[in-house]
Symmetry: C2
Subunit: 330 residues, 2 copies
């Protein structure tokens, strides 16, 4: 029997746990079920919006656990809000599916619910269509008008920080692309890094008003810093030995005979969803206090300079040759 | 040579004609090129958002002119703003493409530009990914807080109006699905109705504050009125002889031996993007004056009654059997 989009929405998406709570309804006077959803913005706030698509077998394995696909799709979008310092408000979902399979939709819906609850970011609308598996999400967040943190504010002399550790998600993708599974104890950390990246929402909000610029690492550390360099018209010099390479990556890459133990991966792998943060020297302490207060590791990895390139320097100040500078989309 | 998403965005999307004008920048302090776009909402307004996906060979023929695909994708989204009475503000675009073909992208971009200019609705962000051809658009519009027009406000005794004429887009789809081309003079009207539907933005805005409820006809007149009936907890009775069937539909269906000359099609075909408007008897004149002022034909087609069903009645008040009640998505 054919299933209508409306049945699917009612059963799997228009339900408590996903839709706005009564308290959230003050900002969302109308959610799923009409021609539009409605957002009521506090007068002192801007609305930040970001849209990302994840395609099966391009951005995730089609056969992956639907709950993890859902979590990854929402997390990578929330990461864009984090990079602007915005507070999550709500999201819309365009889900394209080859067929309406009950168990898949049930798991996908539950996966979404976990993040909706964690980040207080309910579902307010979208579309379900028949097609090859892909997920487009738009997130909406709130930002103080006087605390906008873009990619344009970096100045020579500023310091470059990165949150967390790098390389795990990149290695996970590389192993999965080569047909390896990530279900061993040694690779569990990689699996979590890839499928359940933690959007740095609290850190992003904490940085707003302190940092000069920020970006989330979706294309690769050097490529993403390149966006900041370009938009701020500056150069960036990274200190190779300071780059925080994830423990599991060091171990596995070391065992594979990689002498720099994953440095190249940490510099270039996309999908990490840590934040790269640029801060003026005199705001350095405020930034560090913020990171300590919310318990997110932050590492000083370099400095903004005059110029236009992003370089990674070894102990002797020589530029390290980096292979595969970020993700090519086509 | 591989092409990056950033090159494509720069060449085909981040350009004058598509992005906000200097005047529009007051409401859009940040557009394409950062982690998020930013929207600054006037305090007396709500933001209306709607998201729709169009999949190649489901919602449009993959081989169709890319300019027309672009126009249809944006128009069907704008139609949702029209149904809420919202003024277009901006849109985001998630474009999934099998390959980055210059001529296709050029035409697609120009197609978008036409509607961006007509409806003052610039592009502020999105995503381009490699995958099977599909287009997800989210539109954002402005609405006065005291003029929200939903699907819930219909009351027994209210009158039911529809804008324009019905059936052309449905017949176009049906003919194309059966391998027929629409390039003959007699079918040109159908081609335009399908690929270049005119979102009823002015009419929608004019209705806000007057109508009890409104919806755009994307699933089919009776199916969409069914959404209003359900959400308003009312029944609706349509007068078969009043349904405005498009001239081309009458002619072609008549020639095909359809004695009701396309009535069933006009009642059930989706993709029409006319507005169905419910209005209280005492606001009838205000609605008609609005329609005359903006020069949109409006036809009285029925009445809201107690009950829960949408029926179409013949001259003798007998219910007409309607086949294929709206589009089944899966």
């Amino acid at each position: 029997m054919p299933v209508s989009e409306f049945d699917l929405i009612r059963t799997y998406f228009n339900k408590p746990g996903l839709i706005p709570t009564q308290e959230q309804s003050a900002r969302i006077p109308l959610g799923i079920g009409d021609d539009c959803a409605l957002i009521d913005l506090p007068p002192e706030k801007l609305l930040a919006v970001s849209m990302d698509t994840l395609i099966a077998d391009v951005h995730f394995p089609a056969k992956a656990d639907p709950a993890l696909i859902a979590q990854r799709a929402l997390a990578v979008n929330l990461s864009d809000l984090a990079a602007m310092g915005a507070e999550p408000l709500a999201f819309t979902l365009a889900l394209s599916l080859p067929k309406a399979e009950e168990s898949w939709l049930q798991a996908f819906s539950l996966g979404l619910e976990t993040l909706v609850q964690t980040y207080h970011c309910p579902l307010i609308g979208g579309d379900i269509t028949k097609g090859s598996l892909s997920i487009t999400i738009q997130v909406h967040g709130l930002l103080n008008k006087d605390e906008v943190m873009t990619r344009k504010g970096a100045k020579p002399g500023d310091l470059v920080y990165v949150s967390g550790e790098l390389g795990s998600a990149g290695l996970a993708l590389s192993l999965m692309s080569n047909g390896m599974s990530l279900d061993k104890p040694d690779t569990k950390e990689l699996h979590v890094a890839y499928f359940q990246p933690e959007p740095r929402i609290s850190l992003g909000q904490g940085c707003a008003g302190i940092a000069s610029a920020a970006i989330d690492i979706s294309d690769g550390l050097m490529a993403d810093l390149g966006h900041i360099a370009k938009q701020s018209d500056v150069g960036i010099e990274l200190d190779a030995k300071a780059i925080p390479i994830a423990r599991a990556v060091k171990k596995i890459m070391g065992a594979m005979g990689d002498r720099s133990k994953g440095l190249n991966l940490a510099l270039t792998a996309g999908d990490e969803y840590e934040l790269a943060i640029i801060v003026a020297e005199d705001r350095r302490e405020a930034l560090q206090q913020t990171a300590v207060a919310i318990n997110v590791p932050l590492t000083l990895i370099g400095r903004v300079v005059k110029g236009s390139r992003v370089k990674c320097l070894d102990n002797n100040g020589h530029e390290i040759e980096v292979k595969n500078l970020g993700y090519q989309h086509f």
